[in-house]
Symmetry: C2
Subunit: 277 residues, 2 copies
């Protein structure tokens, strides 16, 4: 924690990277071996295969990225081999581009402290995603790191997202999560953001009204089909910041040996469609 | 998945282990290096140190255990080294004792499938804990495994547990989670249980009334102070099953070189206090 980043907040770093890349695009490094190109000369051993693929994607696309996000499940499925690939992937990302661990952990006490240690100290991520079910106790240990950020899971777009959102009320639970996140950001040195899906623009607007200045991490553009320009317009509101994640549409833009060039083209196209921060 | 276990459900395996041990005690293998004995001849390298400690605890206590639970954060904090220690720990547990990954993952689609693959295939756990925030989509991929179980996070005892539980209603959210878990167990081949804390017996009783036959994983007895006999009486209800987890009170019963013997004594004492399944 004694490097030069500590004077900056996560939000400062995100703003810097957004300015440099002219972009609010976050690129999701979710390596799905079933979708890897077969004729691109990638090594066959799992750890080496993932690292080689990720490094080529990072080299090809980093000029267009305001952040890189890594989804833990895509690595954990391979156990310790996957974790080694993850450790090497994080080290391969240029240090001036913020990194996000999409982990959605949610626990309390020592357990939450150790998860924070895993992502912020051992792996040196700049931010991670958190599940809010157990309340503030599961967020607070991550908020103790002044230079780091958390994105609290708020509104998702999956078909069962409403199983527990309405709970007999007109006002959905995710708006309470948004309101709390604003309160929490005043109580902690770290940056507190929200994860809000893009595919329901009305809900995105409602969360933005509840949390006008909070930074949003917005999945759903690209393979999931949400409109890029509308997402930025609605998601940013009058004063908010957002980063828009896309994974599959960039990583698997081509299934051939030109996958890295195709990823670069798609990232460039998306960056333009997202208008910039 | 082609071993002899697959004909049994997770609940069958839990019942068998409960009968053999005469116990509903689940022992939590949460290795906290700061609490390890310093004069017990444990190796100094992290992976070896964790494995050596766990193996001695498993050997000393397995006769009293109806299950072993592993909290992922205690391993992830050490990255790939921690995951290797986890892989070796799971292999060191006798195969007739069910194993639970306390991971509280909660995601959807491919991500949830890959987490299920990590815990049920790569690591060969028999069950894992899941966060319900995103609804059925985050449970279903884990429920496809007929011989496996999930425990859905329901009622916890931490101080901020109510941040999102009431949401302007008299009926708390966790009772909706319990009701849904009962519905889900009819829709999936795997066993669906609930995580319900012991330290609020009234809440434990309310969840039991909502889910009379569901298996509960109950933390909070031991170091966290809930009464063992009352937990079993209230938690079991008239027809339910439960396993009661204790970690710290067993693992760190002594800070000296007799830590394994002290763990055995404490596990035996807790088993007796828990009355048996």
């Amino acid at each position: 924690m004694a490097d030069s980043r500590t004077a900056q907040t996560f939000l400062d770093r995100l703003d810097d990277a957004g300015r440099r890349s002219g972009s609010c695009l976050c690129i999701g490094l979710d390596p799905d071996l079933a979708l890897f190109p077969t004729d691109a000369g990638l090594p066959s051993a799992i750890e080496e295969r993932i690292v080689a693929f990720n490094v080529r994607i990072i080299e090809a696309t980093h000029a267009h990225a305001s952040a890189f996000k890594v989804n833990l499940a895509f690595y954990e499925r391979f156990g310790a081999d996957g974790w080694r690939a993850l450790e090497r992937t994080v080290r391969a990302i240029p240090r001036d581009i913020p990194t996000i661990a999409d982990a959605k952990r949610g626990d309390i006490g020592n357990t939450a402290r150790f998860y924070a240690e895993a992502f912020f100290e051992h792996l040196s991520f700049d931010a991670c995603t958190i599940s809010p079910y157990m309340g503030f106790d599961s967020i607070e240990p991550f908020g103790r790191y002044p230079g780091k950020g958390v994105f609290v899971l708020c509104r998702t777009s999956n078909s069962s997202a409403d199983d527990f959102q309405l709970h007999g009320q007109e006002r959905p639970l995710y708006l309470d999560v948004a309101r709390r996140a604003v309160e929490w950001s005043d109580k902690m040195p770290g940056t507190v953001g929200l994860v809000v899906g893009a595919t329901r623009p009305t809900d995105l607007a409602a969360v933005r009204a509840e949390a006008p200045e909070t930074v949003f991490l917005v999945p759903g553009v690209g393979a999931q089909g949400a409109d890029a320009a509308e997402t930025v317009r609605v998601g940013r509101g009058s004063s908010g910041r957002l980063i828009v994640n896309s994974s599959r549409s960039i990583l698997y833009a081509s299934s051939g040996s030109d996958f890295a060039e195709a990823a670069e083209s798609e990232a460039r196209r998306l960056k333009a469609a997202l208008v910039g921060l």
